[in-house]
Symmetry: C2
Subunit: 361 residues, 2 copies
């Protein structure tokens, strides 16, 4: 019944932890005094249960709740709300992990394309994939299209918008998509373009139509900005778009990155998930990155695997090490380092692609 299992880390003294855990179970379910619930069915089936309380290192506790799956409405945004909505406002709680029954995971659906579908679209059956980004924000559509052509000529598999490219006057979405996709097609280049979807429901619907008209088959989505429900609906509506999730606003501090960027984004349909690699501009530990990649692509309820995309200040000198770390079911994303190469973008891209194809040697 209460088969949505959620693990939290709580900073709390031993004498208070039972009450704190019960309060958390109320907050994340019925959000009212249980004694005032008139309907016995609601208390029995919907009120969150404290399944376990375990002391962990540092004097904190791991509390596992059982929540009701029907409370999620089988919808991504509401799932996030049930997992951490109000509790995100309480500073003593970290969301560490969650799981749900296989049948319910299938109802959420996960990645429509996933790792395997992405490989098929890209025509790369094995080995690591490559990705780069159109930058900088502020460039004209034409400049971005030129850059896309050079990266594609270098052999990059996926060329994504920088996550800062939305629908600004510098390079409006419709104009940019036509320019970039046009440049790739005109030159017969194989790269796939993944533009950023942004804004509210009306904007995103309009952007989807533009992608369809232009034959674009991938998109970049930041679920913590445009809504996890938006990702989920795009995945479930068989939009034909392979969906790459971007971690912007994923705030490292209060939700464990493997749970958010790995499992939750995958469950809601991300075909690939970008995350900060260790040793770059961000601070994820190697173990966090390994757990995140595992959460994205290891077998889980029969959902399609989600392609891990480590990124964030990477450079070609790290290719061999990253392939050793992640293995071949990965897409390496290098942006700025290709753009600042003295060899020029196309050559830098080609060297990067060849390093990846050669296993980094």
């Amino acid at each position: 019944m209460k088969e949505l299992k959620v693990a939290y880390r709580i900073a709390c003294g031993a004498q208070d932890i039972e009450a704190r855990a019960r309060a958390l179970a109320v907050e994340q379910s019925i959000e009212m005094p249980p004694g005032a619930v008139g309907d016995e069915r609601v208390r029995a089936e919907v009120l969150g249960a404290v399944d376990a309380i375990q002391p962990i290192e540092g004097g904190d506790f791991r509390v596992t709740l059982g929540l009701s799956v029907p409370s999620t409405g089988l919808e991504g945004g509401q799932l996030l709300n049930m997992l951490f909505g109000n509790s995100s406002l309480q500073p003593d709680v970290i969301l560490e992990d969650f799981d749900l029954p296989t049948a319910d995971a299938a109802r959420f659906g996960g990645p429509a394309e996933g790792l395997v579908g992405l490989r098929r679209r890209l025509g790369v059956a094995a080995g690591a994939l490559t990705c780069s980004a159109l930058k900088p924000l502020g460039s004209s559509s034409r400049a971005l299209a030129d850059l896309a052509a050079r990266l594609a000529a270098g052999g990059i598999d996926v060329i994504k918008d920088d996550h800062g490219l939305a629908d600004q006057a510098f390079a409006p979405f419709a104009e940019r998509v036509r320019a970039v996709q046009g440049a790739l097609r005109r030159e017969g280049l194989n790269a796939h373009y993944a533009p950023t979807l942004s804004g509210g429901p009306i904007s995103i619907a309009a952007q989807r139509r533009i992608l369809q008209d232009e034959g674009v088959e991938m998109a970049l989505v930041a679920p913590m900005i445009c809504g996890l429900g938006t990702l989920h609906e795009l995945a479930r509506s068989r939009s034909g778009l392979a969906l790459i999730a971007h971690p912007a606003m994923g705030g490292a501090a209060r939700i464990a990155p493997p749970a958010l960027l790995g499992k939750l984004f995958r469950l809601c349909g991300a075909d690939a998930t970008i995350f900060p690699n260790h040793g770059g501009r961000f601070s994820y530990a190697p173990e966090t990155c390994a757990s995140l990649a595992a959460a994205a692509r290891n077998p889980w309820h029969g959902l399609n695997a989600c392609l891990p995309v480590p990124a964030g200040g990477m450079h070609p000198g790290r290719v061999a090490e990253m392939l050793d770390f992640y293995g071949g079911d990965v897409m390496l994303l290098i942006g700025g380092a290709l753009l600042e190469s003295p060899l020029g973008v196309e050559r830098a891209a080609r060297d990067f692609v060849e390093a990846v194809r050669g296993g980094g040697r």
Copy 2:
């Protein structure tokens, strides 16, 4: 030019702060090595500028950046992305505040109805307003409609869905809205109903049509779950809905609550903003609540004022104190405490309303 001013608190040693501040300015603008930017205009107009670095208490620094307003595309989600998207993944940074020129604030638009429009709709020209919530999650539409009727009979101004009510099988959105709105209309009650909008673009569009068909004029939106761009688009599209923002997933830890729940939600069109009052189930300090209320309703760029709605474990015994603290331009939201009153919901609601109308005395 770079007139989007953003204040961050950074934990960093004095010897490194200048480099750290420059790195932050790059991360939140062009996100690539500035030296590799070929277009001088982009470096001059789009690359973030470090406007000020000041030491503050605790050995941290306050860094003020100047970012380019056009980078936001004048769109709520993208504004959030520019303020904190990638940096939210870096643990040493807290987003403390932001501001922008008055002309740009007008382009964002702020609340379409705001505090004054809400008062007009509710027919309450002065003094604090009252709000309660339909609970618990798991109830049938009929049970929620009965509860709404009792709260309305008690004189509550706004009856909102509990933020956990989305589109679940217990009480599906369409059925629930018809049941609740029907009950209020049938009994000629004055209360306004604010159902929760949830899900992705297609769902929200369908929910809007249902609200229109049923003559519902208010809605509850959790911008950090369904996307700040969704709130913004609802406000800008003249939907006719007064929009109440819910703080779920607002995560206290990394964005200052007055900046997020006060200013940012207001700028993007929240007519009212719910937040955890001090001394309840959450941990905001009284000063945080006062700053948040000020950010929501004090004059700011000529935007409509946004109505502060302190909540989260409040009870009628606190009415006088809360009115002293917030004054009359406030809506008090009490949920569970009315439901557990031994007097019954309607009487508890009436006592609450009378206490508020009487200034808490």
